[in-house]
């Protein structure tokens, strides 16, 4: 044998440190936010990036019955399709206004509003209750704001599911593999007994791609970008339009905004 365990770990650790600057460049939003010239690389620190999503419901409403974002997410991430609503797994889905924003609807709203199907997903909160309660740090907050899941560590206690005020999380009640319709060989499946949710397509962001739902939306209703860059598309759109977030009074600071 050429090497012992201690030396191996030392070398890997040093490589990781050396690599982190290189890996960081892959995560720069420069290619992702291609619409504008500035890159957040100017800021030079990891906290320079804070990913967020803006759902422009004015454009989304035009396409009734469209499920392109949901289908894209399902395909890219090998999400199972389970008919039984008690067992379903959904990372991105639609709800009517009174269910997406409970306690805020009134009977005198416009018909359009009443019929609108809002696109919901994990809000990747700034102050996520799910991360606070996870006993193993299986769900954790990345420096770029994404609330990530480590399926290797999750013990399936479902405390995060109880804590999430938005109902964004799913447990795999059974082995999901038989229920996957079309398989993407580039992404793993999950196993039974672990919790999963939207991950803002971290694996695609690492390659400089946009999240699958954003790419699939052909009416420009889903915008994705860096909240800490004042000139990013999402910031410009939030500056010039009325936006709302789900359950803002809970202090979670969600990073999915809705333009209405």
């Amino acid at each position: 044998m050429g090497i012992n365990r201690r030396s191996f770990l030392k070398i890997v650790g040093l490589s990781a440190l050396g690599v982190s600057s290189g890996a960081w460049e892959v995560l720069q939003p420069g290619e992702v936010d291609a619409a504008h010239g500035h890159a957040a690389a100017e800021h030079g620190t990891k906290a320079a990036v804070r990913w967020a999503m803006v759902v422009d419901m004015r454009r989304c409403k035009e396409e009734k019955g469209c499920t392109k974002c949901i289908d894209a997410c399902r395909l890219v991430h090998n999400i199972p399709v389970i008919d039984n609503p008690k067992r379903e797994v959904k990372w991105i889905w639609k709800e009517g206004y009174e269910h997406a924003f409970p306690d805020t609807h009134n009977e005198y709203m416009s018909e359009e509003f009443k019929e609108a199907q809002f696109i919901l997903m994990c809000n990747h909160c700034d102050n996520p209750p799910c991360v606070r309660v996870c006993p193993t740090k299986a769900t954790f907050k990345r420096p770029d704001g994404i609330v990530a899941m480590d399926y290797h560590r999750c013990i399936g206690c479902r405390f995060c599911m109880a804590a999430c005020p938005y109902g964004s999380r799913n447990l795999n009640w059974v082995d999901p593999r038989p229920y996957i319709r079309e398989v993407n060989p580039e992404f793993p499946t999950r196993m039974k007994g672990v919790v999963e949710k939207c991950n803002f397509c971290v694996e695609r962001l690492a390659q400089g791609l946009l999240p699958a739902c954003v790419e699939a939306c052909h009416c420009g209703a889903l915008l994705f970008g860096n909240l800490h860059d004042p000139e990013s598309k999402v910031r410009r759109v939030l500056r010039s339009n009325v936006s709302m977030r789900r359950k803002p009074e809970l202090g979670t600071h969600p990073c999915v905004f809705y333009l209405v």
């Binding site: 008690k86 067992r87 013990i155 599911m161 109880a162 919790v195 979670t252």
Partner: protein, 387 residues
Amino acid sequence: MIEKALKGGPRYWAWISFLLLVIVIGFMFYLRQLSTGLGITGMSRDISWGVYIAQFTYLVGVAAGAVMLVMPKYLHGYKRYGEIIIFGEFLAIAAVTMCLLFIVADLGQPMRLMNVLLHPTPNSILFWDMIVLNGYLLINLIVGYNTILAMKKNVPPPGWIKPFIYLSIPWAFSIHTVTAFLYCGLPGRHAWLTAIMAPRFLASAFASGPAFLVIMLMIIKRVTRWSPDPEAIQNVARTICYAMIANLFFLCLEFFTAFYSNIPGHMHPLKYLFWGLWGYNSLVPWMRVSIIAGVIGVFIMLIPPLRRKEGFLILGCAAIVLGTWIDKGVGLVIGGFIPNPFEKITEYQPTLPEISITLAIWATGFLILTVLYKMVIYLKERDLAVE
């Protein structure tokens, strides 16, 4: 001394065989749950905690109830409780063991249980729950073991266990407060997000734990030659009565806050539980029975002529155990998830495998309790024969 549990009459062995049968059947279903996943239970995306966590929540209360005997005896010198405290400590051991088993049974990936220790997360209440539950189990094992050794030799227990006993008093409060914190710190669940959750839990615990204990002691009185001091039992009954009055009072406070403020998020869970909401009402009979049982229990415990009659005493304690079990298990845990974050309702019904696993864990607790109590009864009967 555990070999004392191997000696018994036909009734005893019938009881043990029954428990073992329930355990084996439940265990087979658990193996199925391990291979198929939690999908064999009735839990769903909306109701992600069900019977298992409900039992866990209730049993933490039963375990904490022993403090209602320890406090008067050790802090206030009420010597009458001296001969029954050991039963309370052993009940705590059995109850905490059941709690831990229910948590493990509820996990989606139980083989990764050690991750909670390998990756300690102090900001997670579940981490603290693990610490306080195991700590309480350890305290009761140390105290119980040494007490029973001392009883065997007819000497007073060693002085060094006193600090452990004193520690068990705030620790008992803490186990149930931490369990309440599991619920009352979650921002998205209006039914749980109330400061009175921990007081409710404690009041319910101090009613249900001693009530459970009194029922056990009355059963022991029927099937063995030893019987507990009647005045001590009456005092426990008074404790149960006041704790249950506090519990019901706290429930009324919840109703006031919800309905006087008229805030939909607060009203909906209570409406669903007690009257039905949007056409869903499967829990209404349960909750109404819980209130009736609680009131009957308080009534019996409050009136001395009733309380002193053994039959009524047992009925009162059983009513309180039933009332608190429904209120905590069904009402609190299930009711907290309804309506879901989208103001929709999915109802919950445990499945046969789930119920079977639950009964198996209860049977395991009763088995532990039986073995431990058998040792104590042997010693008590031995001392009776000597007198």
